[in-house]
């Protein structure tokens, strides 16, 4: 039995290795922010910024989504459920994911697992995105209940209906009054 290989920061120069097409480098990437394609049923867009302890947007974060399909199934045929976006190509420093709203899994409200990497983070962190329009399910969710009541709002994406469809907004605050709840999983 040997010990876990330590984590190290993704650093400032991950783009051509992990998200080459998004950043226009001549190399492929395994996945992008389009978890479901255009025209898919119930496609939603999720955007957000990643903010540092001064409230400044972080332009070199890398965000990954892992989620169930609309029926609440993980790893279902034809649904990868995984996406990746850097915050360095959007003029407002946002990540942008196009996906489908996950279905509820047994005993949980619908949620997306988010993995956060950046320069200045030696070990990646995990959080969860819950949906503002799931008030009843959120109130009964056992993981949300483990977060201090006054911080639960940091895990809930706000919803707006735009001409282009339903959009959710989820800012990730690394620090500060609104510091996002991060999980040790």
């Amino acid at each position: 039995m040997s010990g876990q290989t330590p984590s190290q920061t993704v650093g400032p120069y991950f783009a051509y290795g992990l998200a080459a097409q998004q950043y226009h480098y001549p190399h492929g990437q395994i996945v992008d922010g389009e978890i479901v394609g255009e025209g898919a049923d119930n496609r939603i867009r999720i955007t957000g910024r990643v903010l540092d302890g001064r409230g400044e947007p972080i332009p070199d974060a890398l965000i990954e989504f892992w989620q169930a399909d609309s029926e609440g199934r993980y790893g279902a045929e034809g649904f990868g459920g995984f996406g990746r976006q850097g915050t360095g190509t959007d003029p407002n420093g946002r990540f942008v994911f196009d996906t489908t709203k996950p279905g509820a899994t047994a005993g949980s409200a619908p949620f997306i697992t988010i993995v956060v990497f950046m320069r200045g983070l030696l070990t990646h962190v995990y959080t969860r995105l819950y949906f503002a329009d799931e008030e009843v399910a959120n109130a009964a969710d056992p993981v949300l209940a483990t977060a201090p009541a006054e911080r639960r709002r940091t895990l809930i994406a706000s919803r707006e209906k735009t001409a282009g469809g339903v959009q959710y907004r989820f800012d990730i605050h690394m620090q500060g009054e609104d510091e996002t709840v991060f999980f040790d999983l």
Binding site: Q4, Q8, G11, Y16, I30, Y74, G75, D184, L185
Partner: protein
């Protein structure tokens, strides 16, 4: 892919979220304790990127970006096994790789270090572990480069590696270093790792892996989280 829940992240092995000598951590690392999360389906599953994600030259960074010749620098081969904490091979898992060139310059547009780019070297690749958890890639030994963390700060030679393992909880991004590098003792990123675990990040030179008349060989084994044996009870200790 749904798997058995993995063991906890060992905070005696991983760097803390705020490590002031690495100055960027001060405004970016979360300050409040992480909240323990019992593993359900979401944490016991993860994306599957296997052999279909890798093309012929992806594991050879000395060849995957050639334009008019060979890249400059010292050609090396890096090989090793990806195992879990219990010594089981992690099979068919994707490794994504990126690094600076021999002069210590990244292709990344914001790298302003005044060292030459190499038209025949990109410094990005991929490989997938085999049934023994083994992997191998060819590249050019990366150079050291200065960075702005403190006066006269230089990063040791390193290669960035990103792995998935069997679940989203086994996800790992790390850096592989080279034996005998005098910059290691001065590098706040390397020194952010708890002392007892640091050496796991240093590859080992191997004459057996070295290919005669072709390239030096380094061995770097990677250990991901193992299977959880006891019910989850506590959080970060």
């Amino acid at each position: 892919m749904i798997n058995a829940p993995v063991s906890q992240r060992d905070w005696n092995s991983h760097p803390p979220l705020i490590h002031p000598p690495y100055t960027s951590t001060v405004l970016r690392g979360p300050t409040k304790p992480l909240i323990p999360l019992a593993h359900g389906l979401a944490e016991s599953s993860g994306p599957v990127f296997g052999h279909e994600s890798v093309q012929a030259l992806d594991g050879d960074m000395t060849r995957n970006a050639r334009r008019n010749g060979e890249p400059l620098g010292e050609r090396i081969v890096v090989t090793g096994r990806v195992l879990d904490e219990d010594g089981r091979p992690v099979r068919g898992t994707l490794i994504e790789i990126w690094q600076a060139n021999a002069a210590g310059r990244y292709v990344h547009k914001t790298d302003q270090h005044e060292a030459p780019l190499d038209p025949n070297f990109l410094g990005a690749g991929r490989c997938v572990t085999n049934d023994d958890g083994g992997y191998k890639f060819y590249t050019i030994k990366p150079g050291a480069y200065p960075w702005g963390n403190h006066f006269n700060a230089w990063r040791p030679n390193h290669i960035h590696l990103s792995l998935f393992g069997n679940t989203i909880a086994s996800r790992l991004v790390t850096q592989m270093y080279f034996p005998g590098d005098p910059l290691l003792a001065l590098d706040p990123i390397y020194l952010g790792v708890p002392e007892g675990a640091r050496e796991r990040l240093i590859s080992r030179f191997s004459i057996d892996v070295t290919e005669p008349d072709f390239c030096l060989g380094y061995v770097f084994d990677i250990v991901l989280r193992g299977r959880r044996e006891t019910p989850f009870e506590g959080g970060k200790s």
